[in-house]
Structure formats: structure tokens, C-alpha cells
Symmetry: C2
DNA sequence: TAGATTGTTAATCGATTAACAATC
DNA sequence: TAGATTGTTAATCGATTAACAATC
């Protein structure tokens, strides 16, 4: 599969791939692209760990999943790592529809931060007559009712859900009925979906809560010294 | 060890608050508000677990951190839970500045999904002359250079970083120099900051990677049966 | 060879899950 | 009381950290 040698092939073993590892892959990928652009061809786990403030052992274990073999005393081939990590992250052969061209939705249309991961929104939908058939961020906005006929067999369809919290479940139901494979949920609503539909929740609220507690902890330790 | 001294009572013991618990708090809060609006006054851990698809034991352990005592056979007081969870999540006494009024930045200004957490952007800054001194989302955009003079002792200042990846570190350096306490980082750049500055990374790329792998795993198990 | 780095196996740590006692 | 739910202690599971062998 990946040229590098032995038949049994490198390539990712998705079954055992751990969630924290998956979430670190984009960080590796970005760094590797930067190193690559600067003309480097090989990098050590120590170097990566240093740049990303990780433990070198974590890096080695994560990279082991790519199947790319490192060379002792030298490190890992940057192009090979890039190739293999992209294979995991790339949403190849998927069609992505954005639902809800409001504030957050239009931001995602205009957002280029995910381009390097092969991310591309294939069409934009909305239910608001004021938005339907207008151009937002250079993209035509389709009527949501047109979505079902744009879902055909042979591809994986991902819906990015950017509607108001109140309409989240109703819209999800419509998408599920239309045959969507996955929902990337940017609302704060807990979606109820059948087992065969994948949901990825993106919760700003969770991040804000985390930040808030971090700050309070810091303030706490700053004030009451001599504790601990 | 954490004396927290006399006052005990209810209230959160921040020291031992776990990260997964913190990230679940907003989900509890949203549900509790909904139950409260529907006229309920008390709720069991089983009911919460059912609504949020969690294990009831997880819910009880999480709620234990709030210090609110449940009543056997009945459940927990909804208003009390709301009060205590809000104490953890609310960014009280903090001043929040948004840096970068591009696509993502303006989306965050217009986004109301965090209102219930007491979230409010106090001022908006940008470096682009085409944006400075314009009104975006009903908010005046200040010149970034004006930020330092708007940081004064006695408050905690949070910067929401929505600038292009390439200018992320430079902008962070400027914010740190100005005396910011925390950076909510929406860029894909790994920020290098001194120890006393809190960073909260919000990575869309991590979420996309997670979704991508989930989908591939599902497709894999659907296709190759009996493999291993 | 000597040295540095990979790669794997074992130990620790933390979070979830399970079991059960306490209580209204 | 009986029953249901809380709350705590123990067991399991998973991820990180440590130790060390393999290798170029």
C-alpha cells in the first residue's frame, strides 16, 4: 500500500487508532507541512515534541499508527508522514453540505483554515427565504428542501449543522430522512439520531467552560499561597 | 490539603474538578434551564443521563462537584444545580476582547449560543485599516494598537484570537505584553506563551479529523467483515 | 564501534464503570 | 416499612509515562 517496503504494508490501522491521537494528527500535519516548506526532509520525534509541547514518547506512539518507519539516529521522513497522516484526515470521496448560512455558517464557508485537510463545502442550504437564492461568501444558497434530491448513492454525505438550537433536531431529522451519513453539529442541542448516523459535536460552550475554570484555578492558587 | 477553610457549605471544589466533567457542565446547564422553563423543580440523575445519553453514575459524580445534595427517591433541585454550575462556568468579572473581525471573528460577535453562559464580548479589535473604525455586527472595531491602554489592573482580560494563522504568534506576543490573562485561540497555530498566560485552543481541525476517522471506521466495518 | 534515536513492553495515572451502602 | 435514588468505595478500562531493547 504505502511504497516503503514490506508487503504487509504500512498504512493506518484504523481499528486501534485512539481518539487523542486522532485529535493530535492535524497538529503534526501542520508542523510537517511547515518543515517541508523550509526544505527539511527528515525530522525526529524529539523535534516534533519540542515544537508541539508534547512528550517524545507520545509522538513516537502516534506516528507508529501511520505505519511510517523511522530511522534510528535520523528520524522520520517528512513526506511519508504527510502522505500517511493525510490519508487518515482527508475526507476523500465525501460530499459536504452546510446547513444554515447565518453568522457561524457563513464564517465556516469563508474559513480557509481547514483547506489543508482537503476540506471543502460542496453546497450551502438554508430555510430562510431571505437567504435562499442569494450569494453568501461567493456561494449560492439553496433551499433546504432541495437537499434530499442532492443526496445520491455512492458517496458519503456530511452535513454541517449551523442552524439555531431550536431547529437543530427538526433539521437533523430531515437530513437523516434524506440519507445523510454524518452530522457535524455546531449547535448546542443534543441530537437524537439512529445508530448508522455519525454525529460530531463541536461545542464552543465546553471550551469556554474549560477556559473559565482554568482561569479561576489560576486566580485561586495565586491568592491563597502556602496552601498545597 | 485544599483547606478551603471554614466556609465549606456547597460550592465547587475547583482543585479536583476534572476536565471531562467541566466540559459536560454546559450540557447539564442547558438541560436544566429547559427543565426549569417547563416548570419542573427537581430532577433525577437517571433523567439527566437519559436526556444527555450519559451514564447515571457519571452524572451523579459530576453533580457531586457542585456541592448540591440530592434527595434520595427524588433527585436534585434544579434551581440549586443551575446556580452552582453557573458559578463555575460564568466568566464573571472578566473583560473579553475579540481580536480579528474576519469571518470567524464576526461570527463569534453575532453568535448568541454562549449568552446563557454569561459570555459577552466587550470590544472588538483589528489591524486591517479597511475594518478599523467600521461597524461589524453592530460593534465598533477598534485599532489593535488601542488595546494596551484598555487593559487595566483589577480585571481578568481574555482575548479571543481570530487572526490568520500566520499572524497568530505576533498578535499573541502583543497581547501578552499588554497584560492579557488568557487567550482563547481559534487559530491553528501553536502559541508560545509565558506560564502565567492561560491558553485555550479551539481546534476545528481536531474535530474534523475525529469525524473523518469515525466515518472511515464505520465504512470499514461495513465493508470488510470478518477481518481480524 | 559508539551514540543517538526508534520501537516495544511494563508501570503509572486518571477516568469510567460497577457494586453496594446510606438515606429519605 | 419498602422502594427508589443518592453517594461512596472498589474494579476496570484506557491513555500517558517510564524503562529498555533494537537498530542504523
Amino acid at each position: 500500500v504505502n511504497g516503503l517496503g514490506g508487503g504487509d504494508g504500512a498504512g493506518i490501522n484504523e481499528t486501534s487508532l485512539k481518539l487523542p491521537t486522532i485529535r493530535r494528527f492535524p497538529r503534526y500535519l501542520k508542523l510537517l507541512h511547515e518543515l517541508n516548506s523550509s526544505g527539511r526532509d527528515i525530522v525526529s520525534s524529539a523535534k516534533i515534541a519540542d515544537e508541539l509541547k508534547l512528550d517524545p514518547i507520545v509522538v513516537r506512539k502516534d506516528l507508529a499508527f501511520t505505519g511510517v518507519a523511522g530511522k534510528p539516529k535520523l528520524g522520520f521522513s517528512i513526506p511519508h508522514l504527510i502522505e500517511e497522516i493525510e490519508k487518515v484526515i482527508y475526507t476523500e470521496g465525501t460530499v459536504t453540505y452546510l446547513i444554515g448560512a447565518g453568522e457561524l455558517g457563513s464564517a465556516l464557508i469563508g474559513y480557509s483554515g481547514l483547506d489543508r485537510f482537503g476540506f471543502r463545502i460542496n453546497a450551502v442550504f438554508d430555510i430562510d427565504p431571505g437567504r435562499v437564492n442569494t450569494i453568501i461568501q461567493n456561494r449560492h444558497v439553496f433551499k433546504l428542501e432541495q437537499l434530499p434530491e442532492m443526496i445520491v448513492p455512492g458517496h458519503t454525505f456530511i452535513a454541517i449543522l449551523c442552524v439555531p438550537d431550536e431547529s437543530a433536531q427538526n433539521t437533523a431529522d430531515l437530513l437523516i430522512k434524506a440519507g445523510i451519513s454524518a452530522i457535524w453539529n455546531f449547535t448546542n442541542t443534543e441530537l437524537h439520531v439512529p445508530e448508522n448516523v455519525t454525529v460530531q459535536n463541536e461545542s464552543l460552550a465546553a471550551g469556554l467552560a474549560e477556559l473559565s475554570v482554568k482561569l479561576r484555578k489560576k486566580a485561586g492558587t495565586a491568592k491563597l499561597q502556602g496552601d498545597e
